[in-house]
């Protein structure tokens, strides 16, 4: 291939730019509109510029308790992130050697990933409904009287809700681990072993530093997918709502730009997390290069 770009390059570059505009354009429109003046409406033109609608969100004026939903989503997202990272790294390590059940776990993860969310959500709701029915009807007979007393439901943010989110984040975590270990040079571990490192030392000082940037990536997926999760939570979250569920509820009732302000705030959290994670990944990669970990490069 020569240096001169073929004509198809320019056509496809234009197509790609249009796609990116299509991706970002609408989002940018609501970020701008969330600064709508006090008399402004849901559409352009801007009627002045103000922070009125952000104020409305924070004071809770008219909208449901957004602050609480915000905190709930944040807490759930962090828990999901930590569990996703730990379980994915562990399972990813397991897949490096053959073990019975490996393909069952693999296919279960894939099935969980592509299962229509409403079915997973329904299943979890059903499971907890049956648990509730059982406790209410038979709790006293099987020595769970203390539980049945004043019992309402086992469903909740950190039971059914957490489970629902994990069925969505764990497959991503596992697939990322697969991608990491596809490129991983196993000789590095052998070398560590030969030098007398214990398995834990090998993991802690050889494997983990090399895979760390991608592990941060798993954390990024874990948090953002949970923070924005909607379909799987919808039936399985119990009596309290997460932020995306509140937002979805608002789409049918709200006629003022406060919904944009809330959207802008929610996105702001996503963007902060995304850029924090990406910067950490960049720093880690730069450090790997600088500290001369010539891992896998052979003789330099």
């Amino acid at each position: 291939m020569g240096d001169k770009r073929p004509r198809s390059f320019y056509i496809l570059a234009a197509f790609f730019s249009a796609y990116v505009l299509f991706l970002y354009g609408p989002m940018i429109a609501i970020y701008i509109l969330s600064f709508q003046g006090p008399d402004g409406g849901l559409t352009f033109p801007m009627n002045g510029v103000s922070l009125t609608w952000f104020g409305k969100v924070f004071s809770g004026g008219g909208i449901v308790d957004i602050g609480a939903a915000f905190k709930r989503s944040l807490a759930l997202g962090l828990v999901v992130m930590v569990i996703t990272v730990v379980l994915s790294v562990a399972a990813g390590m397991a897949f490096r050697k053959p073990f019975r059940g490996a393909s069952i776990l693999f296919y279960t993860a894939i099935a969980s990933l592509i299962m229509p969310s409403i079915i997973t959500s329904l299943g979890i709701a059903l499971e907890f409904r049956l648990i509730d029915d059982f406790v209410n009807k038979h709790g006293a007979n099987v020595g769970l009287g203390w539980l049945a007393d004043g019992y309402t439901t086992a469903m909740g943010l950190f039971t059914s809700g957490l489970g629902a989110h994990l069925t969505w984040t764990l497959p991503f975590g596992l697939l990322i681990m697969f991608a990491i270990f596809n490129r991983f040079d196993g000789r590095l571990e052998e070398a560590a072993r030969d030098l007398g490192a214990t398995p834990w030392q090998t993991f802690r000082h050889v494997v983990l530093p090399i895979i760390l940037p991608s592990v941060v990536g798993i954390g990024l997926f874990g948090f953002t997918l949970s923070w924005d999760e909607l379909a799987r939570s919808s039936q399985a979250i119990g009596s309290v709502n997460t932020l995306p569920l509140e937002l979805q509820g608002l789409t049918t009732t709200v006629t003022k730009p406060d919904i944009y302000a809330l959207g802008t705030l929610t996105s702001a959290v996503s963007f902060v997390v995304i850029f924090a994670a990406l910067s950490v990944i960049l720093v880690l990669q730069a450090r790997q290069r600088r500290q001369g970990s010539d891992a896998g490069k052979g003789m330099v």
């Binding site: 790609f16 989002m27 059940g101 059903l126 995304i274």
Partner: protein, 311 residues
């Protein structure tokens, strides 16, 4: 958990083969076990319960653990009686399939060319990463917000209508832009083209560039190279992307709900509305039907390509 590696007696003298193998296996189990447990509790068991409960009886208040096909018969009510006329459930599934096909076609078309551009036209690795990230970032942000984002553009007084009126194409605002099948498909394409781009890009990036040069040297036109080399070798990615998009759209109720103004029925929405009426067996029966159809589509697609080899 990774920590469990510590318990391995690896540092002890060169272990006897059998014992070593055994500990290796139990370590693998300790590492993979927690994830398996989560899937067992929150995915496999719930699925089994859905299938079981779909064959339970129910009344207005609760499900009754007695065998009954009421969930299914209620679902297909009137399907035989009103025959020339399609019953609600069939109409709903046809509508869902239509939305699914439209979305699939569009995401495939857009996804293929975006992936093609990234894989073959972007030459520097850095730019490839930057542009891929540009496509990925929206995936990490909220779907609901990306739906709401269409309101100021497509609404009655939205930018599109303003623009069309301003340009003199129309006199009064077009109504079908928002809360219509059009806006549903638009939003689905907007949200899920990403799921096409990633696997197709993955397949394309593995194509040996020398194959393309060889085709060029042998006198193949760009079009011939595309049809005879790039597309066949991208097939695994195309299939995986298609599975993603089709399963998402078949079960979708959020996008169709929000963008359809809660007026358009879909397979996923039936389940949701049965659930909100607390008719668990009926919801479960619908879930089983949806699951069956989804499995048929996926197995048809996986016949084209062995997915496991591609991961």
């Amino acid at each position: 958990m990774a920590v469990t590696i510590e318990t391995s007696p690896d540092s002890v003298a060169p272990a006897e083969g059998a014992l070593r193998k055994l500990t290796m296996r139990s370590i693998a189990w300790l590492q993979a076990g927690p994830m398996m447990l989560v899937f067992a509790l929150f995915f496999l068991l719930p699925l089994v319960l859905v299938v079981i409960v779909s064959a339970w009886d129910y009344n207005e208040y609760e499900m009754i653990p007695a065998f009954s096909f009421r969930g299914y018969t209620d679902t297909f009510e009137g399907c035989v009686a009103n025959l020339p006329e399609l019953c609600t459930i069939l109409k709903t599934y046809l509508k869902t399939l239509k939305l699914c096909l439209l979305t699939w076609g569009l995401t495939l078309l857009i996804g293929f060319w975006v992936a093609y551009f990234l894989a073959f036209h972007v030459r520097s690795k850095t730019w490839q990463i930057v542009l891929s990230l540009l496509c990925t970032i929206p995936f990490w942000t909220s779907n609901v917000i990306r739906m709401i984002a269409w309101i100021p553009l497509l609404g009655r007084n939205g930018l599109v209508n303003q623009g069309l009126i301003g340009a003199g194409f129309i006199n009064k605002p077009v109504e079908w832009l928002l809360f219509s099948e059009f806006s549903v498909v638009l939003a689905l394409v907007h949200l899920f083209t990403f799921f096409m781009v990633v696997p197709i890009f993955n397949s394309m990036i593995r194509i040996d560039k020398r194959l393309i040069e060889a085709a060029y040297d042998a006198g193949a036109s760009g079009w011939q190279t595309l049809v005879n080399i790039v597309i066949p070798l991208s097939k695994p990615g195309i299939v995986i992307g298609s599975i993603f998009v089709i399963t998402i759209v078949m079960g979708d109720f959020v996008t169709i709900g929000v963008m359809g103004g809660q007026q358009i029925a879909s397979a996923g929405k039936i389940i949701e509305s049965r659930l909100s009426a607390l008719q668990f067996p009926a919801a479960a029966a619908n879930a089983v039907i949806l699951l069956g159809i989804t499995i048929i589509i996926i197995s048809a697609l996986t016949r084209i390509v062995d997915v496991r080899k591609e991961l």
